[in-house]
């Protein structure tokens, strides 16, 4: 059984409808549990005080902001190589979610930075690459909206996605590449299990799981809408031709 069968819009609609029946309640439970735990049931940190509670939104949204673009990159490559329309539409569907998550990371980071660093903003490598990533998201969505012919739009946005991937990766690794700037190193790494105390670690893990489920749920919902919109366009074009 090939995974490419899901590139068939009809098959995708059937499978995603089944998956959403589980994903929607799972997302709701994880988001509510993680955010309520993080906000109401975590103690203030010794140096950061209660601002530590911002971590439960800032870290998961930043992770999704970066990884949404990488998901779009994979979908764009599939479009380039195999010309599956569902993959191009999935990339388009993911962009507003990634943009919103990147914006949340930027806003919460600025608000958190003011009392901790004494400034809302600094032209720090990670912050700057994150801002550029957000601008790439805006450009990507604008390009989709500006081009009427869907295959041409998919081609050009895929090229833009390839270029923007540099900034998605920079956003993740900027603190490692340049040993300067205000932003701390990664809070979560694979090599070292834990940089934060247990009191914050467990709700943070639930929040991250919740944000991942939230992203997958919204991508599926939005891709379904894009598939319907494509079908609607085709029907309306046929009506116009009589």
């Amino acid at each position: 059984m090939s995974i490419w069968k899901y590139a068939n819009p009809k098959q995708f609609m059937q499978t995603s409808a089944w998956a959403l029946r589980w994903l929607v309640p799972l997302t709701a439970v994880l988001m509510v549990l993680g955010l309520v735990w993080g906000f109401f049931f975590t103690p203030p940190e010794l140096r950061q005080g209660s601002t530590v509670k911002i971590i439960f939104l800032h870290v998961p949204s930043a992770m999704i902001g970066i990884n949404a673009w990488l998901m779009m990159l994979v979908a764009s490559l599939i479009w380039f190589i195999r010309r599956h329309h569902v993959s191009a539409l999935a990339a388009r569907a993911a962009a507003p979610i990634g943009a919103t998550m990147t914006l949340i990371a930027l806003i919460t980071g600025a608000i958190w930075g003011e009392p901790m660093w004494g400034t809302w903003w600094a032209w720090d490598p990670r912050l700057t690459s994150f801002l550029i990533l957000f601008l790439f998201y805006l450009g990507y969505m604008a390009l989709w909206a500006a081009i009427e012919e869907p295959d041409t739009a998919a081609d050009l946005t895929s090229v833009l996605c390839l270029v923007g991937s540099v900034f998605a990766l920079l956003s993740r690794y900027a603190v490692n590449f340049w040993n300067q700037g205000l932003h701390q190193g990664p809070s979560l790494t694979v090599a070292q299990k834990q940089h934060v105390a247990d009191a914050y670690w467990y709700p943070l893990m639930i929040c991250i799981a919740g944000f991942i489920a939230f992203f997958v749920t919204l991508v599926l919902l939005r891709t379904r809408t894009e598939i319907r919109a494509r079908r609607l366009q085709a029907l309306l074009a046929r009506e116009r031709m009589g």
């Binding site: 209660s50 509670k53 939104l57 914006l103 009506e239």
Partner: protein, 54 residues
């Protein structure tokens, strides 16, 4: 796990960060659902017209 909602001197900082993030998340969900419903209705109407014509 202990309940601790004393945000202390950073109350405004924490509440504004959470408020802004939650507003954006709710807006994203609302826009997704509204556009989804709108496209779905338009498609059903177009398919019904196509069915009548055939």
């Amino acid at each position: 796990m202990q309940g601790d909602l004393d945000l202390g001197k950073y109350q405004m900082t924490v509440l504004s960060a959470w408020g802004a993030a939650l507003v954006l998340i709710v807006a994203l969900v609302a826009l997704t659902l509204i556009r989804g419903a709108k496209v779905r209705r338009a498609l059903e109407a177009a398919e019904a017209r196509k069915g009548k014509d055939q």
